[in-house]
Symmetry: C2
Subunit: 332 residues, 2 copies
């Protein structure tokens, strides 16, 4: 009785308690075929000892850990937060654990996390990263979000092109005559780049006059303020519609417009991108092109766990949708 109180019970303990061999316990635990009477005895012993498998021993043996590392810049941008949440759900559904790594957009940090994660033999990595030359363990399945890194590494993204187009069309529908596209480089690597071309295409199709203001990484935000000032005469802005590359940017721009005495959406309508919401269930921060974070997460998990790596598509684009968030005039 109560011999090894201090240590958690092992399979050996269960085997002894049930009077069976080690391998038999293993089979019961893993649901493999075992004689009925044996199964019952083992299950009783497991119950009695409150046995839990040691998944680190399993991991060592099987070279499989049922955990996936998720690399995100942070969790306070609502879009990333939403992604983290959806990934957590999708992984949990498949009984996988999620190792969350916040990289703060820092390439060194990203590489460090990748290295750390190698030691821990996660079964795969899902990364929304900004380091263009990340070195990833070749035999660890890697799936990116929003960043195409080559044919061997699947990339899951929204249909950014369609989203840009949708924004242009929406602004046209809502009566805009002259619009502008605002973007910061750093928030806009790779796939999200297509938002611009989609938007341009949409404007052309609807014969909507447009201008672009594109800042590079590291450029001060003032670049936008200057741009808007240049197009501001006699209390009026040259534009009646703005498409901002992210909701975050839209949010900042709104503050600037406010300080210029302009009213949104009466004077100028704004559409952002991402689908950021205040408290998850609150209303959208601005009128926006919503990314399907649930589908993105689902797809990432699907791909990262896929057995046959050869079958993985290099790029998956998922459909976006428009949502009203108070910064556009809805149709009369």
């Amino acid at each position: 009785m109560m011999r090894k109180m201090s240590t958690a019970p092992t399979m050996k303990d269960v085997a002894r308690e049930a009077g069976v061999a080690l391998g038999t316990v293993s089979k019961v635990v893993n649901g493999l075929p075992v004689g009925e009477n044996y199964r019952i005895r083992v299950e009783a012993a497991i119950e009695k000892l409150d046995y839990q498998v040691n998944s680190y021993a399993q991991g060592l043996k099987a070279n499989r850990t049922y955990s996936i590392a998720v690399l995100l810049p942070n969790t306070f941008n609502p879009f990333f937060a939403d992604l983290a949440h959806q990934l957590n759900l999708a992984l949990q559904k498949r009984r996988y654990k999620m190792l969350l790594c916040c990289t703060a957009f820092n390439p060194t940090e990203e590489q460090e996390y990748i290295n750390m994660v190698r030691q821990n033999k996660v079964d795969g990595i899902i990364g929304l990263t900004y380091n263009p030359d990340l070195i990833v363990e070749p035999d660890t399945p890697y799936v990116t979000i929003d960043r195409y890194m080559g044919p061997g590494i699947p990339c899951v993204a929204s249909d950014n092109y369609a989203g840009g187009q949708m924004a242009a069309e929406k602004l046209a529908d809502l009566g805009c005559k002259k619009v502008a596209f605002l973007r910061i480089g750093s928030s806009l690597t790779n796939e999200p780049n297509k938002r611009r071309s989609g938007f341009e295409n949409g404007c052309l199709a609807r014969q909507l006059s447009y201008e672009m203001k594109i800042l590079d990484d590291g450029d001060p935000f003032d670049g936008f303020v200057d741009f808007l000032r240049e197009h501001f005469h006699n209390g009026k802005l040259d534009f009646d519609g703005l498409f901002c590359v992210t909701d975050n940017l839209a949010f900042q721009i709104m503050k600037v417009l406010e300080s210029m005495g302009l009213k949104v959406p009466e004077d100028v309508q704004i559409i952002g991108f991402d689908g950021a919401r205040m408290f998850g269930d609150g209303r959208y921060v601005c009128s926006t092109i919503v990314q399907p974070t649930d589908a993105i997460a689902e797809m990432c998990v699907e791909l990262v766990l896929m057995d046959n790596a050869a079958l993985r598509p290099p790029l998956v684009c998922l459909p976006v949708s428009y949502a009203y968030g108070g910064t556009t005039m809805e149709r009369p």
Copy 2:
């Protein structure tokens, strides 16, 4: 040469390559004293083979995994998101991994995660949970946020009482004559309860007339709408100040007030609680009592990793501060 390409190199491989014993490699890897010439040879071999320790073998042997499970309801509430981020930073600083578990306020989910986490032999758990009778492995260090579960389990929280008091004083300072406190039960278990008594105390101290509206878990939000309507006559609200138990609630209440034609902060000033910000760096969602999420995270990690469990304090309260977020009139 290139014999075992498919498998990651092990200590044995390094030992063979360096021409030393297994134990010597182990010592080098762990920084234990080893003869200089041996160290050099081993380090060269490690470099050459690109050896990485297998932390699951380490975990199996040492019964230590350098990972901590974090239980949060979700990541899209900015307060939780911030907490997740700060915890990630604090853990990373100590080279610990973070297993994030989103529980969606669901007691069953919470217990399931706790169980799952037991199997994975995490070194500890930090939980912001809502299940009053969670069963936690007695030998896994457990630290809660905001919920006092008994003397053996440390609870880290903001100084909620002081926060409530601070809100009352601020409203008084800003000229309010009659205020109200709004809260929903579910968002207000345990420690955060003290926000009410702190607020009450603050009102009494400043001879500020106040009322309370408290909804229970599961009550429809309409309860607040009705309450506000009852106190709304001739386009004017009986209150000139509101203290909402969370920023989330404040956010929702603002929408209601808006729909009643009331202006914030001109007609009624609002103070929330948490310190929620839009994009992490954006401005506060509302004027608010800010919780020190960085200090909370730091303290949680400190306590959960503490060797001597007997020295852990049962309750730690950390100082809050007031921040302007546009929903209060600042002093003239």
